[in-house]
């Protein structure tokens, strides 16, 4: 609106943009827009974020290796879930094709880092800072190619078309044995080397699992912060605008096609990186892994965690990743359930059923996801003792 007003912002009352000290005891009193727009805008948030990261770091020393591996996988899945959240949560383009982009990342990285001259494609570049971005970019390129479809399709039409991608991808990966090793056979995954140090072998920085855990943790933090930045920028707002009301978004100046393409591109980049990393944990990729179920798991993570929040995606990934071990542990506590596979119900059936049921129950009772749960708790304490 400064169009006709002399001087634009400078004519307005002086706007403090730098950091300034906060009045003690009033955490929400911001005295500059910079403070107000900061990622962690209260002291409490900064402290708890730092504490969380420190805790996560500390876990690497405390937990056993198998537990670390589960968590490391959860972190990688969280990167993928954040990616899906960008296209589905923020930009509203429901994609069931995430597994496809994950696969592209996984195979790009595997091919780059694989040994040259073996049964499967390999270029022997094991440095992670080469194959990780490459995997992301390859997946992003695929995302950008697919995105124009999204500009024509809506809702579940798009969802099922992207699901078609997964099936087409399965076919291609199955046929392209040079790259993938073929169904039921598979190939070695990307080898994580950082400046010459192999992170998938016990080494200077700890055991294999500790090193991989730390790698995934650091990467998760980087990817999460970047996603938060994106979300609070013009790009994130444009995504949200397209999601909420696309005609209105266009009319106020958001180019729809460009932003849908961008959303798919960024989301697929995240997926690609997640794919590249995910299989370094087991060291092994098999083309059957990139199926509908994987896509659905990512959707479930986003929904369970809370749509359109980065922390929700992380929480969702953790929840689902830890749910499996949990459901394996639970039946053991109920001695009447038989461990004998000949009997019904046996523990294995119970654990599989529990997995399904827990997801169902969780969504029934907290449809807004873990993030919604958090908001509820917070609101309760905010209004306590006046519950209304």
């Amino acid at each position: 609106m400064s169009g006709t007003r002399a001087g634009g912002p400078s004519a307005a009352p002086a706007i403090p943009t730098g950091r300034s000290r906060r009045v003690r005891g009033r955490p929400l009193l911001h005295t500059s827009y910079a403070q107000d727009m900061a990622l962690l805008d209260t002291r409490a948030k900064r402290v708890s974020a730092a504490a969380l990261v420190l805790l996560a770091l500390a876990l690497s020393a405390v937990l056993t290796d198998p537990a670390l591996e589960v968590l490391a996988a959860a972190y990688v899945l969280a990167i993928g879930a954040i990616g899906l959240n960008i296209v589905t949560g923020y930009a509203g383009q429901v994609s069931l094709g995430h597994a496809f982009f994950v696969a592209i990342g996984a195979y790009t990285a595997a091919a780059l880092s694989g040994p040259p001259g073996g049964d499967t494609l390999g270029y022997g570049i094991t440095e992670i800072w080469v194959w990780l971005p490459a995997a992301g970019l390859a997946a992003a390129a695929a995302g950008v190619l697919v995105a124009p479809l999204a500009t024509r399709l809506r809702g579940l039409y798009l969802a099922i078309v992207t699901l078609g991608l997964v099936f087409l991808g399965e076919h291609v990966f199955k046929e392209w044995q040079e790259l993938t090793g073929g169904v039921g056979v598979g190939r070695e995954a990307a080898v994580p080397t950082l400046l010459g140090v192999r992170l998938d072998q016990d080494g200077a920085f700890g055991t294999r699992e500790q090193q991989l855990y730390l790698l995934m943790l650091v990467l998760l933090v980087v990817f999460a912060v970047a996603a938060r930045n994106l979300a609070r920028s013009r790009v994130g707002r444009a995504f949200a605008a397209i999601r909420d009301r696309d005609i209105a978004a266009a009319v106020i100046g958001v180019p729809l096609t460009r932003y849908k393409v961008l959303a798919f591109g960024v989301s697929s980049f995240y997926a690609g990186c997640a794919g590249a990393l995910l299989f370094t944990l087991s060291g092994y990729v098999e083309p059957g892994s990139f199926n509908l179920l994987l896509s659905v798991q990512f959707i479930a993570m986003v929904l369970i965690g809370g749509v359109a929040t980065v922390s929700g995606a992380i929480a969702g990934a953790l929840f689902l990743s830890l749910l499996q071990p949990l459901t394996r542990a639970l039946p053991a506590l109920v001695p009447v359930i038989s461990g004998d596979t000949t009997q019904t119900p046996n523990v294995f059936q119970v654990e599989t059923v529990l997995y399904g049921l827990l997801i169902v129950l969780f969504l029934i009772f907290e449809p807004r996801g873990l993030f919604g749960l958090w908001i509820r708790v917070r609101n309760y304490w905010k209004s306590w003792p006046f519950s209304y």
């Binding site: 609101n379 209004s383 519950s387 209304y388």
Partner: protein, 253 residues
Amino acid sequence: MLEIRNLEVVYDDVMLVLRGVSLVVPPGSIVALLGANGAGKTTLLRALSGLLDVHDGEVTKGAVTLEGEPIHHLRPAQIVRRGISQVMEGRRILAELTVEENLRVGGHTAAESHLGRVYGLFPVLRERRGSVAGYLSGGEQQMLAVGRALMAGPRYLLLDEPSLGLAPSLVAQVRDLVVEINRQGTTVLLVEQNATMALSIASHGYVMETGKVVMDKPAADLLADEDIKEFYLGAVRSFREVKHYKRRKRWLS
């Protein structure tokens, strides 16, 4: 008789929106309900038609009774079957259905079809009967919303801002229509921003503010009330004058 006694409504378990509202709609009457935005008028209608549930709202105190029988715990379909029908705020057209399909949905619970009557009232709708309702203009959609509620042949009609977005000549028509259906035996509870219109046909008026009824008088008395004149009916003055005394200085700074 439709009666609300000491009603309290809470949204999301925390937001207390109606704080002990009492209101009576005698059979055969037109009752106007006025109030500032956010006063809780729509909430009150939702409590009457059983739609609070959809909004995570809950009646925590008081009662809604129809002919003495409490109905606030009934499901919406049951309430409609008892003869209470609502024109929802914001038109709520079923955009993907055609005009006629919208009307037929409105007649879901009715034994006989009131299609002819509605088309008689709104000829535009007859003309566009096969069109996809979502493409109608705003005002046409409003007509459809009113028409749809009439399809149920209700005994009690709850109208939430029926004149919204209608051209002046149509506002007059809607007013006449309300009078007419009331004459034919339908009791009307009319929520309106157009207070002049509402009070001109109502027998009784309620004024709500922040979840409470603050005034409750025969319509004629309300029309004469100074406060009502000031805040709801508007003195006859130019908008150009309004802004000068209120705001000009601050904007220029």
